[in-house]
Each structure stands twice: as structure tokens, then as C-alpha cells.
């Protein structure tokens, strides 16, 4: 019988970074990094790590939203299309309609939120399975994104916008990467310590139990899809800053990357277990892997095979760990 005497009310360090289910992947990540450090001259450098941070921004932010969705036992296939929709709304409002950037950004995020709310309501009110509701939204949002400019891209954002993705403050921190870090931190604190965050685990564990415990399951579910969509919209805005242009074909198949990152990070697709720390590891595995394969100049066909193998190994490693500990 253990009753810990020394337990404080303040967020605890170990709590925050708890790796539930993600130690396997963490080891995988470290092995990957070690291998790449030996196999290439260019991997192990400060500069390259900054590059990787840049490259994972979009996926990282989307994966946080996807973590919430998967935690409540849902799934969202529409994130890539919503990213494109939000980008096109941004470009349309700022460049075509000539509105100030603040309005354009708000509009882009609102359009994403709306798309998320529709998915959420379809799931809660019309009992459409999340897979289907978001699959439909994936098609709809992509169609709308294309219809804004009849398929063409938009360029001509104000100069400062692109600079946010380029200038490295204090020698390392671009605004886009900073946004990602803030999203990570807020999501981590929210999931660990906020009542609403904990309710996501309850809903994912068993929605009926959550309902009986007095949690507003429907509202929470809709909100989760809204947040996931808004984060995708935010990722779209960062991507627009980075590319200094928007095109309706952005983000195709990003949903699969995001889901893969979340699951590699130990969040269970059946809901109720996992967290953002694992997801960050998952995102890093995918980011480092892509970066490393390019540094190694591996052909794209072989890359596909290797990425598949690594994903499986990272997830299966967790099983081996459990077997060992039995």
C-alpha cells in the first residue's frame, strides 16, 4: 500500500511529460537519430535541427488537433482539405478582396471552425460515423477550396507575412516554429490539468460512462472537432507564410500523416489513452525520417517502403516492450 505523502497540487514535471505508451517510439526516435548521425555528415548539426523544426510545423500542429479527436475515439480525415480551405480563404480575403491580414486570418480560422462544427454536428446529432462525416467534409472542403479561385494559386501577401517563417529570432526561433511550440505547450497543459482535458479521456474511454458522470459528451465532441479544424486552419496559415503563396492542392493526404504521428506516439485509435507528448515524438519520427531519407538521397520509391517499415516497427516496439515486462 503506497500513499504518497509528498504530492503537491501544482502541475508536476513528471506528470506533464508522462510518456504513457510512448517509450517504445521514443527509443525508436533515438535509434533513428543515432543511425542518421553516423550515416550522414549533415544530419547532426544545429542548422539541420532547425530545418527539421521548420519542416514539422504544419504536421505538428495538425497532429495536436488529431490527438484530441482520436482521444475521444473519433477520427478526422478532413484536416488536409480544411488546411487548403483556410489557406484559400486567407488568400482570397487578403490578396483578392484587399482586406487587412488580421481580418483575413480571422476569416480563415472561422471558415475552418465552421467546417469542424459541421463535422461535429453530423457526428453527434445525425449519428454519422466520424469516418464518414469527415470523409465527406474532406471532399466538400477540397471542392470549396478549389472553387474560390477555380483551381489557381494566389500570391502577393504582405512582406512581413513570409518573414515570419524566415527570420530566426535569437538565432533559432521563427514565428511559425514558436506558434507550434505554444500549441504543444498549451495542448499538453490542457490535456493533463484542465477538467475539460481530462473529460476527453473519459469520453474516449467510454462515452456512456462519461455521460452518466455528467459530462456534456455532445458539446465536447463538437468542440473537439472545431478545435481540430481550427488547428488545421492555423497550420494552413503557417504553411501559407512559409510558401508565401496559397494553392488549393495543399495538404492532400496530410490526414494520414497526422493520424500516423498520433498513433505512433501511443495514442490508441479506440480512444481514451495517449497524449500530446507521444504525438510530438510521433511527429518527430516522421519528420526526422523524411529529412534523413532525403539527406541519404534515397529514391522516392524506396522511401515509401522504408517509411512503412519504420512506422510498423515503432508501433510494434511498444508491444515488445510490454511482452518483455510481463
Amino acid at each position: 500500500m503506497t500513499t504518497s505523502t509528498e504530492s503537491e497540487a501544482k502541475p508536476k514535471y513528471s506528470d506533464l511529460f508522462s510518456l504513457s505508451g510512448a517509450t517504445g517510439p521514443l527509443i525508436g526516435l533515438l535509434v533513428l537519430c543515432a543511425f542518421l548521425s553516423f550515416a550522414t555528415d549533415s544530419f547532426l548539426s544545429f542548422r539541420n535541427f532547425l530545418n527539421i523544426a521548420d519542416q514539422i510545423t504544419v504536421l505538428g500542429i495538425m497532429a495536436v488537433g488529431m490527438t484530441f479527436v482520436i482521444l475521444i475515439g473519433g477520427i478526422d480525415l478532413s484536416v488536409g482539405s480544411i488546411l487548403a480551405l483556410s489557406m484559400m480563404v486567407l488568400g482570397y480575403l487578403n490578396v483578392e478582396a484587399g482586406l487587412p491580414m488580421s481580418v483575413a486570418i480571422t476569416g480563415a480560422l472561422l471558415s475552418a471552425a465552421l467546417a469542424g462544427a459541421v463535422s461535429g454536428l453530423l457526428i453527434t446529432e445525425f449519428k454519422v460515423p466520424a469516418f464518414i462525416a469527415t470523409l465527406a467534409m474532406m471532399s466538400i472542403a477540397r471542392g470549396l477550396a478549389n472553387m474560390i479561385t477555380n483551381g489557381s494559386q494566389i500570391i502577393g501577401f504582405p512582406t512581413w507575412f513570409n518573414l515570419g517563417a524566415i527570420i530566426r529570432h535569437f538565432g533559432f526561433l521563427t514565428v511559425t516554429v514558436a506558434v507550434m511550440l505554444v500549441v504543444f505547450a498549451v495542448a499538453m497543459l490542457f490535456l493533463r490539468f484542465r477538467e475539460e482535458g481530462r473529460s476527453l479521456y473519459a469520453i474516449g474511454g467510454n462515452p456512456e460512462v462519461a455521460r452518466l458522470a455528467g459530462i456534456n459528451v455532445r458539446l465536447t465532441t463538437v468542440m473537439v472537432y472545431v478545435v481540430c479544424a481550427v488547428l488545421s486552419g492555423l497550420a494552413g496559415i503557417l504553411l501559407a507564410a512559409r510558401l508565401d503563396s496559397v494553392q488549393p492542392s495543399s495538404g492532400v493526404a496530410y490526414e494520414l500523416d497526422a493520424i500516423a504521428a498520433v498513433v505512433i506516439g501511443g495514442t490508441s485509435l479506440s480512444g481514451g489513452t495517449g497524449g500530446v507528448v507521444g504525438t510530438i515524438i510521433g511527429v518527430l519520427i516522421i519528420g526526422v525520417l523524411r529529412n534523413g531519407l532525403n539527406l541519404l538521397s534515397v529514391s522516392p520509391f524506396l522511401q515509401a517502403v522504408i517509411i512503412g517499415l519504420v512506422i510498423v516497427l515503432a508501433v510494434a516496439a511498444e508491444t515488445f516492450k510490454h511482452r518483455g515486462s510481463r
Binding site: T2, Y201, G205, L212, N216, G272
Partner: protein, 497 residues
Amino acid sequence: MTAEESTPLLSLRNVRKSFGPIEVLHGIDLDIKAGEVVALLGENGAGKSTVSNIISGTILPSSGEMKWQGAVFAPASPREAIDAGVGMIHQELLLLPHLSIAENLFVGRYPKKAGVVDRKTMEQRAHAGLQRLGLDISPRRLVQGLSTANQQLIEIAKALTLNARLLILDEPTAALGGDETIKLFEQIERLKQDGVGIIYISHRLEEIKQIADRIVVMRDGSKVQEFENADVPVRTIVEAMVGRSLERMFPPIPSPQDRTVLEVRDLSSGLGSFTGINFDVARGEILGIAGLVGAGRTELARAIVGVDPVSKGQVLLDGKDISPRKPRDAIRNGIVLVPEDRKQQGLVLPHSIAENFAYANMNQVARKGWVTRKRARAFADGGILKFGVKGQSHQNADELSGGNQQKVVIAKWLARNPRVVVLDEPTRGIDVGARSSIYDIIVGLAREGVSVIVISSDLEEVLGVSNRVMVMAQGKLSGILNRGEANDVSVMELATM
């Protein structure tokens, strides 16, 4: 008595409920006062859980009205009922396996400090709640992997920490042993002193006298009788419940034959929950297994039929080593298990009764591997009739009351005509009438030469149906008593060794 005191905490008037076209509650009137324990009794499917679910906002009534301290009360969701002060523990265990015990206790109402969940307070309060029920587990432990009894205790702890004005306990003791039940009653007494009103549902009628102030009996969706005093003979209650008198609970037990059928040799669990178990069961014998909660009985049963891994030892049938590695090895040899948890292990809830029968009896339902719906239904109808299940073969299992589900699980396994039957808590949640018919079935099986193992936390039950009683304590076999020598005292002595 002042006017305020006489206003009931909760009153129901003419509450009705239909599922689809079928009305299952036909106008219920019920009053609960502060500080009293009302026992709600009735056969399986009488509508007890349905009434409770309406009060707790889990489901909506079709018509009728409820008043809470005199004001109209129509909770549209559990949240509204909770906010009003109604707490309920449900008949089915409803816990979140991936969360800690503490979180399970406080889900939906976490203690907070500066906007964040105050884990320290939460764990302290959880710890206190568990201690009160004599549960010595860390509140940080995950619920996953806890035994059924412990999960039930956690459910109870959850209800006790609710600070409710009205508490509904739907069969809280179904999976508990004697000690735990006593602890629970102490807590109920304490709540009564604090003026909490309690609705207590149970099929263990002996308990009622100890705890209830008043008894309400339901039958087929209507209230049939109220006893203003709990001090009525069990026989009278039973008559009110089943609408006839029940001669006896336990039928005479036949003597076993000489031939040993099942032998368990030095069996140890692959999961570490029991070690070195030796016993045998003869043809036509009923072996009871008793023990305290967590003694390892369920694990032993699961190991015998190949559900869980074994680290060492053998299971012999007719002297032949058949040590099953998977359930189908056991089934092929005519050994079947009626599991403890009917929802998780017994039934595919969203499927029809007919399908559930078919899954366990494909060899009989299928002809050359072909199955038709008609044959599956006809097969299930046989079992339904034989066991008096209230339900039809095309109904989904989740539309049945808990007790009737249990009957379906037993019936589907017995339909295989097994040689050895292992029943783990066979009468959990089963009403008295049905319980005595299940005892009849058990004894009938023994007469036909089937070897039966009955695991139960209900001591009376083990003593009542067994030729011999095997007692386990902390994963070890502590003794086997013959029918003559087994009684409350001798069994408890061995169980606490």
C-alpha cells in the same frame, strides 16, 4: 412531524416508459424520504433498473411526473440529476479502464485549484473513500486489471463520494463477499444519519432485513406491494415478487458417482494469480469454490478452460492430459465456462439471442457448415423455453434485463451438453425465483452425470448446492470440506488463512 419533514425527497407519480412499442413501466408511484432506505425488489425484468435510470436522468420517461422536494423534476441528462443531488451506481460496472481509480471516482466533478485539476486533493479524497470500504489499493492504480469485486467496490466508493441527497444503488453487492457487504452497510448507515435518501436494489433478500426501512415490490413493470416495515419474512417478500409461493431454495443434492472425471494437478497461473492447485471432480459431483474476493477463483476457472495461460501443471479428463491452451481445446473436450462478466465475456450484446446461441453451438446449429436464421432461432427457442428467459430469439441481447442475460449465457453453454461445467458467479444479478431454478438446473446436470464446478461469493449458495466445498485464499488452495463439515465458520476459517 413537521410539514417539511413529511415532504418526500423524491416522488414519482404515474411514471411510464416504453421501449419502442412495448411498455415496460405501467405507471409507477414511489416516494422516498430523506434518511430512509427503500428496498426496491422484483424479479428480473420487473423494471427496477428502468425506474432508477429515469430518476437519475439516464433515460427519459414516456410520461408521468416526478417531484424533487416538492418541485417539478424532469432531468434531461445525468448532469441535471447529479446537479440536483441524485447519485446512482449502475447495475452494470461502468468504469474507465485506462484511467486511475482516483480519476474514475471524480470524473465529471474533479476537485480544482486555480482552474486546474487538483490531483493531490483528488487522490487524498479517493484514498479516504477506498479506506472506508476497506479497499487497500493505491488510488493511482489503473482500473484495468482489477477483479470484478474490486471494480464493484470502486463503483460504490464513487457513489459514496458523490455527496448526493438521494443515492440509488442498483445491485451493489452482486459481486461482493460477506466482508465487503458489511463494510458497505456501515457506510449506508452513516449516510442515513446524514439524511440521505437511498434506493437499494438487490436480489439478496437476506440483506434487505439488515438494511432497509421500507420495501417496495415490483412485478412486470408495476408496483405490486409496499411493506412499511422491512421486518417481514423472506417468504412473504418472495411471494409478492413472483406471485406465488416458493417451496424451497435448494433442491436435494444427489451423491456423486465414484468415477473421477476432471483432475487438476499442480496448476499455476501464467499471470501469477494462483499457484499449485490440486483437486478433482467426480462424475455427477458439484464442487463449490469459496474464498474471499481476489482469492484467485476466477483466474483458476479461466485457466482450467484455457482462456488464460498456465505456467505449470496439468488438467486431466478421464485420466488423460488435455491441458487446454485455448478455449476451443476445452470446448472440444466438453468443458465449458459460464464466465463471471456476462457483458464483456458472455454475450455479443448488439446481436440477437439466436445469434448468441449459435456462436457457442455452431456444431449443432449448422448443417455441413451451413446456417440458416430459422434453424438458429429454433435452436435458441429451445433454450429460451427451458430456462424461462423473458425475451424472444430475435431480440438483441442488450434489450434484456440483466438477469435474463445471465440466463441466456448459462443456457447457451448448457445447450452443448458438456461433461464439465464451470460456473463463475452463476446467479449474479438473478432473482430468487430464477435462482432456485438455476439451482435445479445445476443439480439436474449432476444427476445426469455432469461434473459441475460452482464459484460463488455467496456463501449460502456454495454451501447449498455443493457436494464438497473447496476454499481458496490468496491464490492457494487452503482446504476442501465435505458437505457435512462445511459451514459458515469452517469455510471462513480456511478463507482467511
